[in-house]
């Protein structure tokens, strides 16, 4: 199976929703898709193309939009596939992949915690690394890191 074959197959299934294929070394390629068909696309990839293993879910903040990327592994073909979808900055929402790949649970929580992408249908979308009640999504480009100044620490012990 090569990238052309796969993207053609997917394009016939989801007409107009597969936005393009980029080459990426060491993988089958990077397929860009429309987030509207996320759940159906994931299910089709798992059931029809044997991508049984979701390796990685991550998100990038490109200032004008946010990108969610998925890395899949096909155990039969021994190949990686990268999926990516662009989400608008004002409403970064995409359907969760947890119902299809349980392994996405922690990854999606991490993406929500650090980049602020919401996954609809996630069973337990809470922060994972930062404490509950933290106000920011630190991996956004608008969040600047800086040398700490002299700070006065007040720690509430509970």
């Amino acid at each position: 199976m090569d990238a052309k074959q796969l993207s053609d197959g997917l394009a016939t299934r989801f007409p107009g929703k597969i936005l393009g294929v980029d080459p990426l070394d060491g993988t089958l390629g990077r397929i860009r898709f429309d987030p509207a068909v996320a759940t159906d696309l994931f299910r089709s990839l798992r059931d029809d193309y044997q991508f049984t293993h979701l390796t990685l879910v991550g998100a990038t903040d490109w200032i004008d939009h946010r990108e969610v990327f998925y890395v899949l592994w096909s155990d039969t073909d021994r190949l990686y596939l990268v999926l990516s979808a662009n989400l608008p900055t004002d409403a970064p929402v995409i359907a969760s992949s947890v119902p299809i790949w349980p392994s996405a649970n922690a990854h999606e929580r991490e993406a929500w915690d650090l980049v602020g992408v919401k996954f609809e249908g996630h069973p337990d979308l809470r922060r994972i690394f930062m404490p509950e009640g933290y106000a920011y999504h630190p991996l956004l480009r608008s969040f600047k890191i800086h040398e700490p100044e002299d700070l006065e620490v007040k720690v509430r012990s509970d």
Binding site: F129, P138, I145, P148, V153, V155, S157
Partner: protein, 208 residues
């Protein structure tokens, strides 16, 4: 010498003294079946008491100046530092290696304990994040006095390579009082042992 015949050889409890026993005082002769006889030459009690009084008062004076008992406890305290057995990050691996066969921190009486109640020493071995900060303070406060803290490695000293990060406490001395800082990222086990020995020196100098 009493009239009753001893059944066994006498134990050598007779004080070796040249002076004859005081004539006006009777010898104490006490006996009971099954127990060997002893005969006692009396102590010169009236001479003993003033000397004892003097010695006692000088001891009390020394004790009041903190010269008698306190050095003993100081010696004990500095030679038996029990660190808390908890690992934060990279330095925790070197902390563990220091208790391994090659460095063997137990040579100096350093034995890690898991419960903060039984510890004297909190070795902050790694990066402290804000999420864990109040737990660190709670652990430190659970330790009974007297207690000491060592900031091991650059992260605990000043944030280290993660100083600019949003989630890292830039130096654990913002949270708890620290006695000894150990540089290194991570410090080698020798450095950790050196830090502990320096803490011992510090305790000796402060006379705590």
């Amino acid at each position: 010498m009493s009239g009753q015949a001893p059944e066994v050889p006498r134990p050598a409890v007779r004080p070796q003294t040249d002076a004859s026993p005081a004539g006006d005082l009777p010898l104490a002769v006490i006996g009971q079946p099954g127990v060997p006889f002893v005969e006692i030459e009396t102590l010169r009690a009236r001479e003993f008491i003033p000397a004892a009084k003097e010695a006692l008062s000088s001891l009390l004076k020394e004790q009041a100046q903190g010269k008698l008992i306190r050095p003993v406890f100081n010696w004990a305290g500095r030679n038996s530092l029990f660190p808390l057995h908890w690992g934060l990050a990279c330095c925790a691996i070197e902390f563990a290696a220091a208790f391994g066969a090659r460095w063997d921190a137990e040579r100096f009486g350093v034995v890690p304990r898991s419960s903060p109640r039984q510890c004297d020493l909190l070795i902050v071995n790694g990066t402290v994040t804000w999420k864990v900060a109040h737990k660190l303070i709670a652990l430190y406060e659970q330790m009974p006095e007297p207690k000491w803290a060592i900031a091991m490695g650059n992260c605990a000293t000043g944030g280290g390579p993660f100083r600019t990060a949003y989630s890292v406490v830039p130096g654990v001395d913002k949270l708890i009082p620290v006695d000894v800082y150990i540089a290194g990222c991570p410090p080698r086990p020798e450095n950790m042992l050196d830090g502990i020995l320096r803490l011992e020196q510090l305790i000796k100098e402060r006379g705590e």
